[in-house]
């Protein structure tokens, strides 16, 4: 499988990365290089093989549903580019 310019632009949109025409053109070649490299996986017979979900066999850890931490709104917004009264600010989404 390989990608064309339109696919690269669609994927960039899905990934929320703005790309220029030049960058998109360059990425077509680069991504096809990588996709060509991973293509060799199609040689492997994977009939009846289970897809790996956890590299170390383990049961999911559980904990009781209780508050163990909190009251840190100021810490949480401390690194945000734009805040107001412990809220994150973003451009207007709804008119």
């Amino acid at each position: 499988m390989s990608v064309d310019l339109a696919t690269v632009k669609r994927v960039a949109r899905l990934a929320r990365i703005a790309v220029s025409e030049d960058e998109a053109n360059r990425m077509v070649g680069e991504l096809n290089g990588i996709l060509g490299f991973v293509e060799q996986l199609s040689e492997v017979n994977v009939d009846g093989v289970e897809a790996m979900t956890s590299v170390t066999p383990m049961a999911m850890k559980k904990r009781s549903d209780e508050v163990t931490d909190g009251g840190k709104a100021a810490d949480i917004v401390a690194n945000a580019p734009v805040t107001d009264h412990n809220f994150f600010l973003v451009p207007k989404v709804v008119e």
Binding site: A18, S54, M58, M60, P81, F88
Partner: protein, 493 residues
């Protein structure tokens, strides 16, 4: 002062306890060494001298009070991937511009709880994506090693290039690092240092900036095998904050050093002989086999038939997980924001400006292989191949093999800004051909220096162990270290 920075962790520990030196003297020696060298090596992207002096002073007080921890007063460098309270933590990316976390990673907290001193944050490939440390927003790290008679700048490997260079140049006593496809072992091999990636689940991932969550593991880079064992014992823990942290007590790894190899079976996988591999790599591998045989181990040929598929499977699984993990960098909660005409425009412009080329490339690949219609063909198939890779190892271990010996890398360190590598991303990816299998199978792997090539550059061997059997790796790597000796670059900086 240079005498103090030449001490290993084990040696410094002994002198600190005997009160022959103080943590403050040791820390000052490292701060001076960093001041003198960092302009040329670029190993540290943030030095924290005031914090280091304060931590050293507290260590001296604890030593005086007879309350010294296992790493009391030992100055360490920390890869920029680990969250450190109030200190630069950006995974060497522009998108985390100005990020200073309000929390501490479990791994670094474990080190501070044992008395270690932080010298600063170390350079790395952006988001740990790279094999040369050249994708860092803060520029390349220069390997303290040079080819004999040459001034050419060489890379220290990556992604933990700052960690490896700082340890090799004696700009810290030891360093934290992380390994997703070889990012501890490849730079260790390129700099003549020892690096271990423990079993997946041994070190908590909490507070470590995520790249590919099913593959990422923290581990140390150190000057020798014993120091690596001392550091891993402190870094590893059982952590309720990481659901993949495994509930097993942390052994005293140092106690394994010096044990005999008699009765051990070492597997030699035929599939690790690859086309175009330099004769010197093959020779050092044979040398390693001889050393282990002489130490009493039995050498057996084994087959790991799916080896060649590990790297292509990795380049589906790792970018897929990265594209998901890196979705959080949107200009809202932390780091860089580039304003746009609406929220989507802001996201797209922020991510375009904040991520470097290699990171964008991997997010794009990951987004593509996870997109509708391609998920089964790429991602599910890669995860099935991953099952087969792991099974290869399980069959070898079931047949009685205790550890596997391979080369660590297919070459020694290469030049900065290598045009051949820059032109083709896949060529750079091939650096991890011997190390990536270990991440795909979740196993522990250690890189230990084994000799120098004709250019006078270090070459490493890799030992791969059973899950949670890091002790066997330390014991076996120590035998190689004793036979090969230790390697230090000639100082030019």
């Amino acid at each position: 002062m240079s005498e103090l920075t030449s001490l290993t962790i084990a040696e410094a520990r002994q002198k600190l306890r005997a009160k022959e030196i103080t943590a403050t003297e040791l820390t000052e020696a490292y701060i001076s060494a960093i001041d003198a060298a960092n302009g040329q090596l670029n190993a540290y992207i943030k030095v924290t001298p005031d914090l280091a002096r304060l931590m050293a002073k507290n260590s001296d007080a604890r030593i005086a009070a007879g309350k010294a921890g296992d790493l009391e007063g030992i100055p360490l460098g920390i890869k920029d991937l680990f969250a450190t309270v109030g200190v630069h933590t950006q995974a060497c990316s522009h998108i985390l511009d100005g990020f200073e976390p309000r929390y501490e990673s479990t791994v670094t907290q474990n080190l501070w709880d044992d008395g270690a001193v932080m010298l600063g944050k170390l350079n790395m490939d952006e988001f740990a994506m790279g094999s040369s440390n050249e994708t860092s927003y803060y520029g390349a790290v220069i390997n303290p090693w040079r080819s004999a008679g040459s001034n050419q700048q060489l890379v220290p490997g990556g992604s933990s290039g700052g960690s490896a260079a700082a340890v090799a140049a004696h700009l810290c006593a030891g360093a934290t690092a992380t390994d997703t496809g070889g990012s501890i072992r490849q730079p260790a091999a390129f700099t003549g240092t020892v690096g271990i990636k423990p079993t997946y689940g041994r070190c908590s991932r909490w507070g470590t900036v995520a790249f590919a969550s099913s593959l990422d593991q923290a581990g140390p880079i150190a000057r020798d095998v014993r120091d690596a064992a001392i550091l891993l014992k402190s870094m590893a823990s059982v952590d309720a904050k990481d659901t993949t942290s495994v509930d097993l007590p942390v052994p005293d790894y140092e106690a394994a050093i010096g044990q005999s190899l008699k009765g051990m079976k070492i597997g030699i996988p035929n599939e690790y002989r690859v086309d175009g591999m330099p004769d010197e790599i093959e020779a050092i591998w044979r040398q390693g086999i001889t050393w282990l045989k002489e130490a009493g181990a039995e050498i057996v040929d084994i087959s790991l038939p799916h080896t060649k598929y590990a790297l292509p499977a990795y380049y589906i699984v790792a970018p897929a997980e990265a594209s998901s993990n890196l979705a959080r960098y949107d200009g809202v909660r932390y780091g860089l924001r580039v304003d746009g005409k609406d929220i989507v425009d802001m996201y797209e412009k922020t991510r375009a400006a904040g991520f470097g080329k290699e990171v964008k490339r991997r997010i794009m690949i990951g987004t593509y292989v996870l997109s509708a219609g391609y998920y089964d063909a790429y991602y599910i198939r890669a995860q099935k191949v991953r099952t087969l890779i792991k099974r290869d190892f399980e069959l070898a271990f079931d047949a009685g093999v205790d550890a596997i010996l391979t080369p660590a890398t297919p070459s020694s360190a290469f030049g900065v800004a290598d045009e051949n590598l820059a032109a083709d991303p896949v060529k750079m990816y091939l650096n991890d051909i011997f190390t990536v299998t270990v991440n795909m199978a979740g196993l522990p792997g250690i890189a230990v220096p084994a000799g120098l090539d004709q250019k006078g550059l270090p070459l490493g061997l890799q030992l791969i162990g059973k899950p949670f059997d890091e002790e066997t790796l330390f014991k076996t790597a120590h035998i190689i270290e004793q036979a090969a000796g230790r390697f230090t670059p000639a100082k030019w900086w």
